[in-house]
């Protein structure tokens, strides 16, 4: 193996490793909140059951479907880039960000209904945690959409290396994964 190839392989390895370490760090950001949730739920089981019963099961579950589908599109985009179809990859990523937007719209509808119904943050801790955790998650959705939007633009009009697209898609999967825990914790634990 000549020197240039080694340096190239190292650069890609470094980029991937850096992203995974960052994702681990992000996971721990949420871990603190999950710890708060676990501690409070153990102390106040009733508040959490009643709170879960008042969240919007239909919209919350629909959003789970939306995010899972968006992640599927991201995976297909990575596959398209690997098989050297950057244009199709770009379209698939645009689909991912569109579904991200749909997710945020549905989330906003939920927030609006709760806030007008008198269930805002600052009351019982269940609702404060609901807004803190889904709110932080929504910020991550937004950040992910910006990242994937830029990558889609680069795929369409510039060059984009496959591993950079993978890193961006992995970030999106993290956002998806966190939601797969938020969904049961806030919507499904209703009895």
């Amino acid at each position: 193996m000549n020197g240039a190839v080694t340096a190239e392989a190292r650069r890609i390895h470094a980029s991937r490793l850096g992203m995974w370490v960052f994702l681990g760090s992000e996971l721990l950001l949420f871990a603190g909140l999950f710890a708060v949730y676990a501690g409070y739920r153990a102390r106040l089981p009733r508040m959490f059951v009643e709170g879960s019963a008042a969240t919007d099961l239909v919209l919350g579950s629909a959003n789970t479907g939306v995010l899972l589908t968006s992640s599927l599109l991201a995976v297909l985009a990575v596959h398209a880039r690997r098989t050297r179809h950057p244009r199709r990859a770009s379209q698939l990523l645009a689909g991912t960000t569109a579904l991200g937007t749909l997710f945020l719209v549905l989330k906003a509808v939920e927030y609006h209904a709760h806030l007008t119904g008198g269930l805002g943050p600052g009351g019982p801790v269940f609702w404060t945690l609901y807004y803190a955790m889904t709110g932080l998650h929504a910020l991550h959705v937004l950040a992910g959409m910006v990242i994937l939007g830029v990558l889609a633009w680069q795929l369409r009009y510039r060059e984009l290396e496959a591993h950079v697209l993978e890193n961006g898609a992995n970030y999106w999967h993290l956002v998806d994964l966190v939601w797969l825990f938020l969904w049961p914790l806030f919507y499904l634990g209703r009895r």
Partner: protein, 548 residues
């Protein structure tokens, strides 16, 4: 065998490491742009060193003011409210703006690539971002300070921190931002160590300093986000009144303490592990021999980093913890002392029958060994819950952690500043002044903090501006000690700054070290090594083999 003066003072260099022809240096580019937007790890490292030193001085001035107020039992010039704000800012600045970034982001940035044979860190632009994020965090904390400062103590315990009328929000947001800088640097060091080691530099051949920076980076990446989250909740609570930790709404203030210490105990190891790396380097170089066990020194760094995550409860023995939990956390805390003792014995064993040369860096390291051991032993004592109930929130605890933080981290920082001064600047510092200042640091430190052990044991609580008259004698000793320590920190600052411009040009390897960072030219060229990278035939501590 003790030889003085060191080879540096006489200028004699072993023939095997004779000066290389002077080539380009990283210092050649003096343009403003090269300092404003550098991606060179050496410049970013030096920027961090300058920034953290500024905050060391600011935090130090606050400490001197606090000690001056404690000269007499009554209130003299700092009313209790201002006293509270001052000790809070002293803690915040020293922990997050000096100790956490100083050695990893400062010396670590400069040295890690040189020690593993890399041309730079893995992500130079993220490295630059980390510096500016640090600056932003510093500005936010200073902004909070000028708006009136926080008065909660650096621990931000709820519920007081969420209701305090002081400027809690900008300070916790500043710490949140500093956490981002810390995480970015941590990611960089982890990836750099994994992917950029030169050919032949295997994991068990990297210099020991790199092991400690690597262990530190693991803690930075894993613990910092939890603190960031906890402080963000406090900030939101303070501004919007969400009451996440408010018992009347189902919250639990003790939970904040758990989250805070889940970070802040490992953070102690962020502060002291890199110092241990400095000690390992200095001990081997000035004893001119292999460490008694490289493997033990390397692996114990990871051991400390790992066990450090399981000990946080020992800060909360009086917060309503069950006897079983207290016992478990106490026992886990004592595990840290096993890894620390492994290090102390290995360092001592390396010095034992070594070919010792006494110079300023080694003097600081000897001070480190004594102070760290003293601090560590008292740490085992306060980890015993029955004793801790007596000492909790007294000056005993203050003295204990200052023995680790100042006696450990600050002496290691000063050791590093002298040991690598020639490498960084290409000039020598005045050895005699160095020895004087190191002795002053040691004397001033003991004078300041030994009385605080006695005060705490006698029952003087921490964080009060006033105290009963019978405590005055020891407080006077402590305050006078703080003046000696203050002077002792200013002296090196003066002569090191002078030497930066006027010092005698340094030989390429003034200490005759075998470690990898001394095998590049001194000061290093902009890209450290030729494009194909270095080839090092013998290891960083092979003093029994000829350097070719």
């Amino acid at each position: 065998v003790i030889e003085t003066p060191p080879s540096a003072a006489s200028g004699s260099v072993p023939a095997a490491i004779a000066p290389a022809p002077i080539g380009p240096s990283w210092l050649d580019d003096r343009s403003l742009r090269s300092w404003l937007a550098p991606t060179d790890h050496k410049r970013i490292g030096v920027l961090f060193l300058v920034g953290t030193t500024v905050f060391l001085l600011l935090g130090g001035v606050f400490a001197l003011l606090l000690r001056a107020e404690l000269l007499t039992p009554e209130t003299d010039f700092l009313p209790p409210d201002q006293y509270n704000r001052l000790f809070t800012m002293h803690g915040v600045i020293m922990v997050w703006l000096f100790m956490i970034p100083a050695i990893p982001s400062g010396f670590g940035n400069f040295l890690v690539p040189l020690m593993i044979g890399a041309h730079d860190v893995a992500f130079p632009r993220i490295n630059l971002a980390s510096w500016y994020v640090y600056v932003l965090g510093g500005v936010l904390v200073l902004g909070g300070l000028f708006l009136g400062a926080a008065d909660t103590g650096w621990t931000f315990y709820t519920p007081y921190s969420t209701t305090s009328p002081s400027q809690v929000a900008p300070v916790v947001i500043g710490i949140f931002v500093l956490g981002i800088s810390s995480i970015l640097s941590g990611i960089n060091f982890i990836v750099t160590t994994h992917t950029l080691r030169a050919e032949g530099v295997t994991w068990f051949r990297i210099p020991l300093f790199v092991w400690t920076i690597y262990g530190t980076a693991l803690i930075q990446v894993a613990a910092t986000p939890v603190l960031a989250m906890a402080l963000a909740l406090v900030g939101v609570d303070h501004v919007l009144g969400w009451g996440v930790f408010d018992p009347s709404r189902g919250g639990d203030p003790i939970l904040f303490q758990h989250l805070f210490w889940f970070y802040s105990h490992p953070a102690v190891y962020i502060m002291v592990l890199p110092g241990m790396g400095v000690v390992s380097e200095v001990v081997c170089t000035f004893a001119h021999r292999n460490p008694t066990s490289y493997t033990l020194l390397a692996v114990s760094s990871l051991g400390i980093a790992g066990v450090g995550f399981l000990t946080w409860g020992h800060h909360m023995f009086v917060s309503g913890m069950s006897a079983f939990d207290a016992g478990a956390f106490g026992a886990l805390s004592m595990l840290v002392s096993i890894f620390s003792a492994i290090k102390v014995f290995t360092w001592t064993g390396t010095l034992w029958r070594g070919n010792i040369v006494v110079a300023t860096p080694l003097l600081y390291v000897l001070a480190f060994l004594y102070l760290f051991m003293f601090g560590g032993m008292t740490g085992v004592a306060v980890a015993t819950s029955s004793l801790d109930v007596h000492w909790h929130d007294t000056y005993f605890v203050v003295a204990h952690f200052h023995f680790i933080m100042v006696g450990g981290t600050l002496t290691a920082f000063l050791a590093a500043a002298h040991y690598w001064f020639p490498k960084i600047t290409g000039r020598m510092y005045p050895e005699r002044w160095g020895l004087v200042a190191a002795s002053l640091v040691f004397a001033g430190f003991n004078l300041t903090f030994v009385p605080q052990f006695l005060l705490g044991n006698a029952g003087m609580p921490r964080r009060y501006a006033t105290y009963p008259a019978e405590f005055q004698g020891l407080n006077v000793v402590s305050t006078v000690g703080s003046w000696v320590l203050g002077l002792a920190v200013v002296v090196p600052l003066v002569y090191l700054t002078w030497s930066m411009f006027r010092g005698r040009p340094a030989p390429p390897n003034p200490w005759g070290s075998r470690s990898f960072e001394w095998r590049s030219p001194t000061p290093p060229p902009p890209t450290n090594f030729p494009p194909e990278g270095p080839r090092w035939a013998i290891g960083p501590y092979d003093y029994d083999r000829e350097l070719t």
